[in-house]
């Protein structure tokens, strides 16, 4: 795959210019019927280094998805600055079943390429690679309604990787899955991330998931969402999602994040 960059340990790239810079980001929604304004996100600022895996964790309704949707240009910010230092627009993996039901698995994965008019042969070659990478090879011709939830999310991940964009935005992609499937997919996502070297921003409400995956965890407060902590996750790579649960630091950090989430927004 042309996409494979050298796997650089995240700490080594900290000095390079960041891939994402967000400062003083505010987003509000106006409900014209009730004449009400809801501030979803207030004064959020963070940056993500190239090749870094960052998780944003927070209670539901804290605006973490809104932040991601603004990064993906699916939502307009009210004020603040958002800078993406990337040659390609970010690719998004969505929360729920976003697999298009009228296309087969292979056609779903090829969708972004087919929009760009990439040649059929090239599409097929690229899709074959991604089917293999995500363990979907034998389901290439299946329709989404024949797939389990976990399989559908594999398709979403493959589709987001297919045109090789630098930044990957993931909006609670495994949120609806059962614990076991989720663990398997987390391990596979780590493997894929380690081979592709993408910059990842991953939204989750699961503390456990954030610590399992991330180099850094950003903790958000309830609405209006704002950042309350920025924690570096110390575990070495490559990680084993099961084995790392034997590490006492994992549980110490779990406690630390829970304490932040449970405490009411300070000052």
């Amino acid at each position: 795959m042309a996409t494979v960059q050298e796997t650089v340990h995240p700490s080594a790239v900290k000095t390079a210019p960041p891939a994402i810079e967000v400062s003083h980001l505010t987003k509000a929604f106006y409900d014209s019927e009730g004449d009400r304004v809801t501030v979803a996100v207030s004064d959020v600022g963070f940056s993500v280094a190239r090749g870094e895996f960052v998780c944003i964790v927070g209670p539901s309704g804290c605006g973490k998805t809104t932040v991601l949707r603004i990064l993906a240009d699916l939502e307009q910010k009210l004020s603040g600055t958002v800078k993406l230092h990337s040659a390609t627009p970010p690719a998004m993996v969505f929360q729920e079943a976003s697999v298009l039901p009228w296309l087969t698995v292979a056609e779903n994965i090829a969708f972004p390429l087919s929009l760009k008019g990439v040649s059929r042969a090239e599409q097929e070659a690229r899709v074959r690679d991604l089917l293999a990478l995500t363990g979907l090879t034998e389901f290439a011709k299946a329709r989404p309604h024949q797939l389990s939830g976990g399989m559908k999310q594999r398709v979403s991940v493959a589709r987001a990787l297919v045109d090789d964009r630098e930044i990957l935005l993931m909006d609670e992609p495994f949120g609806a899955l059962d614990e076991q499937t989720r663990l398997v997919l987390q391990q596979e996502l780590l493997r894929i991330w380690e081979t592709t070297g993408k910059t990842v921003v991953f939204i989750t409400h699961s503390v456990d998931e954030a610590l399992t995956l991330a180099d850094r965890v950003l903790v958000m407060s309830p609405r209006p969402g704002t950042l309350v902590a920025n924690l570096t996750v110390p575990f070495e790579r490559p990680r084993d999602v099961v084995e790392m649960r034997r590490d006492k630091r994992f549980w110490d950090m779990t406690y630390e994040v829970w304490r932040l989430l449970a405490s009411p927004a300070r000052d």
Binding site: A72, D73, L74, P89, A91, M92, F94, Q95, E96, A97, S98, L100, P101, W102, F111, P112, L115, K116, R143, P144, H145, R159
Partner: protein, 271 residues
């Protein structure tokens, strides 16, 4: 899973299987109930229990149908009606689907043009038939137009509804994948609306036959509707029944064909 061999008494087996057996008997009976009605009709007519002038025996109607079939008289009428319905249907369905997609996708267009269509939709198509005859004459053109108008509105509203029900996430997927407006239209809105489009096509097929029958009553020299009307005027009741059965079967077969197309082109929807 229980690996132990199943041991049930004869009586338990019988009771376990009883509901399925009953279901089989009823299903078998369901095929025969319409035939039973026909038989009742036949006997009542044969024994003069009902007025044979209004309700000739099914066997007499079948005999008339057979004579008309071998003389090819029937096919001329069927051909004329099919041609009118087919062309009128196409003329209404294609613009109905395209405009439905546009209205479904664009809120400003819907706000602007929606009220015009809402105002025109409730006008009964048969009520404007004289007007259409006046404008387009008594030839086939007026039949195409009146069917097209009926089909157009059904397709417009069903397609628009289908697009508006498209989950927002599919639109987000398209935007994130870099789709242009036209690509979103063709690759997302159209397939997402396809199940509703097929519902519309089936409804429109049914109403096409209602409209064509009425239109052929009034101004036509052939067609199944004309044939029913002409039979009435000459009090040829069994011929009239043949016409009624023929146009019903045409409608039924059209719906069956559309359902086959639906299974072929909407394989992801539950049927």
């Amino acid at each position: 899973m229980n690996a132990a061999p199943i041991t049930l008494t004869k009586d338990e087996w019988r009771r376990l299987k009883a509901p399925a057996r009953r279901e089989r008997i009823f299903r078998l009976a369901s095929y025969f109930s319409p035939l039973l009605l026909l038989l009742l009709w036949e006997l009542s007519s044969q024994f003069n229990l009902i007025d044979r002038r209004f309700f000739p025996a099914p066997s007499a109607i079948a005999g008339t149908a057979w004579r008309m079939t071998v003389s090819f008289e029937l096919f001329e009428h069927i051909g004329a009606t099919l041609r009118r319905v087919g062309i009128g249907y196409m003329l209404g369905a294609v613009p109905g689907i395209v405009i439905g997609l546009i209205l479904g996708l664009s809120l400003p267009v819907r706000r602007l043009l929606g009220p015009i269509f809402s105002a025109l939709y409730p006008v009964p198509k048969i009520a404007i038939l004289p007007l259409i005859l006046l404008i387009f004459g008594v030839g086939d053109a007026s039949k195409f137009v009146v069917i097209a108008i009926g089909v157009f509105f059904l397709m417009l509203y069903n397609t628009m509804g289908g697009v508006m029900q498209t989950p927002q996430i599919y639109m987000d997927v398209a935007k994130n994948a870099g789709a242009s407006r036209f690509q979103t239209f063709r690759r997302i809105a159209f397939p997402a609306a396809l199940p509703s489009i097929f519902t519309g096509l089936k409804l429109a097929a049914g109403s096409s036959y209602i409209i064509i029958a009425a239109a052929e009553f009034l101004g036509a020299r052939n067609g199944v509707g004309f044939f029913i009307w002409a039979s009435w005027q000459t009090f040829a009741v069994s011929r009239m029944f043949v016409g009624i059965v023929v146009i019903s079967v045409m409608g039924y077969l059209t719906i069956l064909a559309l359902e086959a197309l639906e299974r072929r082109f909407v394989p992801w929807a539950k049927h």
